[in-house]
Symmetry: C2
Subunit: 255 residues, 2 copies
């Protein structure tokens, strides 16, 4: 039974890519077969895995130019990647009055998982609400939203919730915002605690227990083309993402 | 002679708003008359100044519903703000095939500075390349781009340079990328030094001397509706933004 997870927040630079890679890497290290999909034309996830200018990529899949199977790259044991490329931006700009266009990713993934055994699909989403995000929200059953522990990130959360409710109503009744988690967190700081209180008040049960602390090795590891567990296994970043991956693994309320 | 400065980077969450507010506040503290303009529908700058749901705002100005003078709010001594509102997003979505629409902000500001003495106009730009950014690039003569000291921010810089060259060629020959500066910087870290070397190699003279270090008080101060100099005058954030404002003040090569 494949769990399809979207890591999504329309705000930029909040840790979607860092979280996608390291949650996936942690799940893979625990023996799960994980497929990462880079849905961002910026292709940061792909570059973090050492894939630049791929011949075959997720854009070609969305245009139905070739089979999704042809795009899958093995990153390491148990960890596969479907990379993005710059031209993916063209798909995003498509104004999408054709509702078939919302379902392409879901259909391709359903097809793929018939022949390839996959435990987790992790979708790294772009910071926008266009056709790529809609495809992610249609394909996914669970959404996890990274948030900065700062006051204005709550407005961003409201926007995510609104979007997910719309998607749920119109396109994918199985979609659920399964959790939100802090990134670049300073746990003992007053601002973090205030934001934490507000979320726990307004959305009981939504905030995951694990917060990802500010950790410079998380910023460095993409340059080494490594996830945090290879790059700095003793760092706070490794500890936090291991705990976060465990927490997500153990969430069964997504059914 | 008013210097009109755009703080711009199409990447999200890199410190545009934090920099706009604190550069402006520092210049104001030194006795300059500064006008801040919030050009982001997210309106984080306006909220940081305690302005939510303004009756008159920059969207109304761009629609020519009322005079720009009617929107100006005094934040503190020497510091004025033209706030944004959520409906500003409607202006952004305008596909802008009407070239007059690119010049509205410039014309309104030219009009304003005839009757109001202003030394610096600071434009806080949104993380996108739409009609709002174009208006900023047409109105401004100097662009400063905050960058994360991480490898992938260099791709973002290339994109900024491409965009500015296009604007310069087609719409505003006076536009110049006057400098880039690191934000959330960890100075002694290897990754920061590597990125620094690459920028200094590829774009000699572009990187400003001042980098803004990671400083949690910069993240907290908006919740207090204060700039860093009021909130935490002894912090690294205050020191760094004071130095950055001085460096920008002393740049005369923008002419
Ligand atoms: N916990 C952390 N500690 C330190 N740096 C971090 C942390 N999380 C993310 N970063 C850094 O913050 C920046 C933004 O992170 P990331 O690219 O993961 O965000 P994103 O939400 O995917 O951005 P985008 O919206 O552009 O896709 C990167 O430079 C990254 O290395
Ligand atoms: N030097 C710093 N130290 C610590 N936190 C910082 C620093 N600079 C910015 N931040 C925090 O990073 C987040 C993003 O900053 P900011 O809102 O200024 O970026 P932005 O580029 O304006 O984002 P957007 O693209 O959404 O407009 C905020 O939570 C802010 O408080
Ligand atoms: Mg990303
Ligand atoms: Mg901003």
């Amino acid at each position: 039974m494949t769990r399809t997870i979207a890591i999504s927040n329309q705000k930029g630079g909040v840790g979607k890519t860092t979280s996608s890679l390291n949650i996936a890497a942690s799940l893979a290290l625990k023996g799960n077969r994980v497929l990462l999909i880079d849905l961002d034309p910026q292709a940061n996830l792909s570059k973090s895995c050492g894939i630049t200018n791929p011949k075959k990529h997720v854009y070609g899949v969305l245009l139905k130019e070739y089979a999704i199977k042809d795009t899958v790259v093995k990153i390491r044991k148990n960890l596969l990647l479907i990379p993005a490329s710059k031209n993916l931006a063209a798909f995003e700009q498509n104004s999408g009055t054709n509702p078939d266009a919302f379902y392409i990713l879901q259909e391709e993934l359903t097809e793929l998982t018939k022949s390839v055994s996959i435990d987790f699909i992790i979708l790294d989403c772009p910071p926008s609400l266009g056709l790529l995000s809609v495809n992610a929200y249609v394909a996914a059953s669970e959404v996890y939203t990274p948030l900065e522990s700062q006051e204005f990130s709550l407005d961003g959360l409201d926007e995510v919730i609104k979007t997910i409710n719309k998607m749920k109503k119109r396109l994918n009744p199985d979609l659920k915002l399964s959790g939100v988690f802090f990134t670049r967190h300073h746990r003992r700081k007053l601002i973090s605690q205030e934001v934490e209180n507000i979320i726990q008040n307004d959305y009981p049960g939504l905030l995951l227990n694990t917060g990802i602390r500010e950790c410079v090795q998380l910023k460095e590891s993409p340059s080494a083309r490594k996830d945090i567990f290879e790059y700095a296994p003793e760092s706070n970043g490794a500890t936090d993402y291991r705990n976060l991956a465990n927490e997500i693994f153990n969430i069964h309320s997504h059914v």
